[in-house]
Structures are given as structure tokens and as C-alpha cells.
């Protein structure tokens, strides 16, 4: 196997030298190497013969007469003189900046076409109106905080999505297609807990099994998506999660509805 591979490598190496071998243009060491290989490789020997014949045919063509040129120096000198081109003087193209004019025309036409095809855009004043409309204050869905440390708190903090501004009808009474983008993040933290009813001797208790935090922009975690589920087995972690959610919500809203202080 090794010899077979070595043979292939040697054949490929020698193949690069076969043409020069046929034209006696190799150095002595390379020639000896090719000689040694050709003695043991009939395939390369055949290729060497073909290359030699090709080289001789090319050589005959090389020495064959090439027709004389019809033009001479006088014609070139007359061309240089008539053109009035000095040495080292590159000819100035007739339309050197023609491409610039074409590009400008294309841009103008494109802009005009775009303005014609697009619906009427929202003016800046209208956009300011949209931004100045007071956002609906998010309301906490549920907030249960146990003051004592005996029972585990059940934390469920959620902010509703920021309401999307209503489109302002344009002059042509057509709805505006371009909606203002909601800025900031929507942070949602949902705790999943278990509440046990208390008995005569045992008070009712709540335990948090996990808390799901999704800080996404307008999207909610898919059901069953465990990537967003963070297990929070103890109240400390739950409080930390809630605090993270609070920070994220504060980044998204100016006034978060729920304060997680003290958790």
C-alpha cells in the first residue's frame, strides 16, 4: 500500500517534468530522477513519448515562417504625429465622467419612482403625536408577597405588552402602513408555583417551583420551551429573578407598575 502510494506521488511529480524532459531542458539531477522513474513506469514512459512528440511539433511550428507584418515604423510614427500624443501622455477619455452623470440620473430616477410607488409617509409632526401619546400603564397581573420568611412566596409578575399606537389616517383617508416601532424590551416573568391549603394545624403555604423569564421584544416564549425556564427552588432565587425582571422592565418602561423592592 505504501509503495503504491509512493508510486502515485512519484508519477504526479514526474508528470510536471516530462515536457521539459522531452525538450532537454531539465537539470541533471531532475533528468536522472525522471530516467529512474521511466524505467519502472510504463505509463509515464508513454506520456513522456507523447510529450516529446508534442514538443517537437511545437518546435517545428516555432521555427516555421511567420508572415511578415504589413505595418512598419513609418505608419506608427505617422499615427503618433497625427494624434499629437506626447510620450507618457495617456489619452484623455472622451467621456471621463460620463459614468458619474449616468449614475446620478439613475439615482434621481430611482428616487422619483420610489416616491411615486410608496404610500404617503407619516410626517414628523404626526410621528411626534404618536410618541407623545401616553402609554397605557402596565398593570401587574398578580402580586403576592409574603412578609414572613416561613412560607415561600409565589411570585407572578407580568407586564402587558405595550399598546401599539393606532394608525393616523392620512389625508387620503387611507391607513398608514408604516407603524411606529415599539422601543425597549418587554420583560415578562411568570412564576409557576403550588399552593397548598392549610389544615387545622398547618397554615396554607405556597411554593415556587420555577420561574420563567422572557425578555423578548414582542415575542413570548413558545409553550414547552425550556430554554426560557429557569428553575428557582428557593425564595432568594425567585427574588433575584423578579429583580432582574424589574430591571428589564424599567429599561422598557419609564414607570414600571410593580416594584420588586424588598424581595
Amino acid at each position: 500500500m505504501t509503495r503504491w502510494l509512493a508510486r502515485i506521488v512519484e508519477c504526479r511529480t514526474v508528470a510536471f517534468l516530462l515536457w521539459d524532459y522531452g525538450t532537454d531542458a531539465l537539470a541533471e539531477s531532475e533528468r536522472e530522477r525522471v530516467d529512474r522513474h521511466l524505467e519502472s513506469c510504463p505509463g509515464c514512459f508513454t506520456r513522456a513519448c507523447e510529450y516529446r512528440l508534442c514538443a517537437s511539433a511545437i518546435r517545428e511550428v516555432r521555427t516555421a515562417a511567420v508572415p511578415q507584418s504589413k505595418s512598419d515604423w513609418s505608419q506608427l510614427a505617422g499615427r503618433i504625429t497625427s494624434a499629437g500624443v506626447a510620450s507618457g501622455q495617456l489619452p484623455r477619455p472622451a467621456h471621463r465622467f460620463g459614468w458619474l452623470a449616468g449614475l446620478s440620473a439613475a439615482i434621481i430616477v430611482g428616487l422619483l419612482g420610489t416616491c411615486r410607488l410608496l404610500p404617503p409617509m407619516v410626517m414628523d409632526s404626526q410621528r411626534a403625536q404618536i410618541d407623545m401619546r401616553p402609554a397605557v400603564q402596565p398593570q401587574p397581573v398578580e402580586r403576592v408577597v409574603q412578609p414572613t420568611g416561613i412560607e415561600r412566596p409565589r411570585v407572578a409578575v407580568a407586564w402587558p405588552k405595550r399598546p401599539v399606537a393606532q394608525p393616523i389616517p392620512s389625508r387620503s383617508e387611507e391607513p398608514v402602513r408604516r407603524q411606529p416601532r415599539r422601543k425597549g424590551l418587554v420583560a415578562v416573568a411568570i412564576g409557576v408555583g403550588r399552593r397548598t391549603a392549610g389544615g387545622r394545624d398547618t397554615p396554607p403555604s405556597m411554593s415556587v417551583e420555577s420561574i420563567r423569564v422572557a425578555a423578548v421584544d414582542g415575542t413570548s416564549p413558545a409553550p414547552g420551551d425550556d430554554a426560557n425556564r429557569l428553575v428557582a427552588p428557593d425564595p432568594v432565587s425567585v427574588a433575584a429573578m423578579a429583580h432582574v425582571t424589574y430591571v428589564l422592565a424599567r429599561a422598557a418602561y419609564d414607570e414600571p407598575a410593580v416594584e420588586a423592592r424588598g424581595w
Binding site: 508534442c54 511567420v66 507584418s69 504589413k70 515604423w73 500624443v85 507618457g88
Partner: protein, 196 residues
């Protein structure tokens, strides 16, 4: 006159000196350049284009461009090599235009060689046929392969000069030359079968 012969003659008047005189507007110096290098440039263009008229035009265009851009000659290569590199670009442009407007060209070499010598007409016809076939095989190569075959095998340039002319490295020249030779061998196989 081959490129080697050109280089031997240039020992008498260095390229830099000629180029400096050309830059100064000395048409006599450029006439000397023309006399030295006109033949290899025409031969190269003829091998690439396959038509005497086209090769004539390409040669004139090459020298015109060389006159206009003589300032770009830095003397880092021989003057014929620099001219051949210009001729390469000129021929590439012409080959492109030929592709756009395919014109049936008649090889005038066979017609020229058919008369004028006292050789046996049969042998001469056979040789002409072979030469035409070899030329057809060379002309049938892709442009890049054709350029490198003509420069190396017909013009006899060194690997370094071929690399300078084509604007690539020497190892690249070797690899491309190997591929071009292999392709040329395949095309010539039918012609050389009787010799084998």
C-alpha cells in the same frame, strides 16, 4: 528575432536609457525600441489572434500604448517583456471583441507557404497540414492556456519572464503551463497517432 536575441542586443543600450529618451519625447529612441521588439510582438499577437491583419493592428496598438505609458516602465523587467505584457492585454481585448462579433478568419499562413520554396510539394503540403493542425490545436486552447503556451514554447521566454508578462507568480506559471501542455497533448493526440 526572438526575445532572447532582443535581450542580447539590449545589452548595448540599456532599457532604462531607451525608456528615458522615450520619456523625453525622443521618437528616434522609440523607433529603436520598435525595431528591436516589433517582430516578437507581432509574432506573439499572430499566435494569439491567428490572423495577420488582426496581429498587425494589435502590434500597432501595443506600441501606441507603450508610447503613451512609457512612464510606467520602471525597468524591473526587460523591455520586450513589458511590451509583451501590453500586447497580452491588447490581444485579450481583441479576443473578447471577436467573441462578441464572430468573424470567420482565414489562416493565410498555409496559402503563403504553399509556394515559393523548392521543396517536394507533397512533403510541403504534409508539413503545412501538420503546422496548421498544431496551430489549430493551440488556437483551440482557452485564452489563458494559449498565452502561456505561446510565451513559453513559441517565444521561448523563461518562467520568470512569463510570470512578469502575465502578472502572476512563477509557481503559478508552472502549474498553468502543466495544465496547458496536458490539454494541448490531448488535442494533438489525434494528429500524432501516426507518429506514435
Amino acid at each position: 528575432m526572438s526575445a532572447f536575441a532582443c535581450r542580447e542586443r539590449m545589452v548595448k543600450t540599456p532599457d532604462e536609457e531607451l525608456a528615458a529618451r522615450c520619456r523625453a519625447g525622443d521618437t528616434g529612441a522609440f523607433a529603436e525600441v520598435y525595431a528591436r521588439c516589433e517582430r516578437p510582438v507581432f509574432r506573439y499577437a499572430y499566435h494569439l489572434l491567428g490572423c495577420r491583419d488582426e496581429a498587425d493592428d494589435a502590434k500597432q496598438e501595443t506600441f501606441m500604448r507603450a508610447w503613451q505609458s512609457i512612464r510606467s516602465f520602471k525597468g524591473d523587467c526587460a523591455l520586450p517583456v513589458w511590451l509583451l505584457s501590453i500586447c497580452t492585454n491588447v490581444c485579450r481585448d481583441r479576443i473578447k471583441s471577436q467573441r462578441r462579433k464572430p468573424v470567420t478568419q482565414m489562416d493565410d499562413r498555409v496559402a503563403e507557404r504553399c509556394g515559393g520554396t523548392a521543396e517536394d510539394p507533397l512533403k510541403q503540403a504534409e508539413r503545412n497540414h501538420e503546422h496548421a493542425a498544431v496551430h489549430a490545436a493551440i488556437r483551440g486552447l482557452p485564452t489563458g492556456h494559449r498565452e502561456i503556451i505561446v510565451l513559453r514554447e513559441l517565444e521561448g521566454l523563461s518562467y520568470q519572464d512569463v510570470a512578469t508578462t502575465l502578472g502572476c507568480s512563477v509557481p503559478s506559471v508552472k502549474v498553468r503551463l502543466f495544465r496547458a501542455r496536458r490539454l494541448l497533448k490531448q488535442r494533438l493526440c489525434s494528429l500524432l497517432e501516426d507518429r506514435l
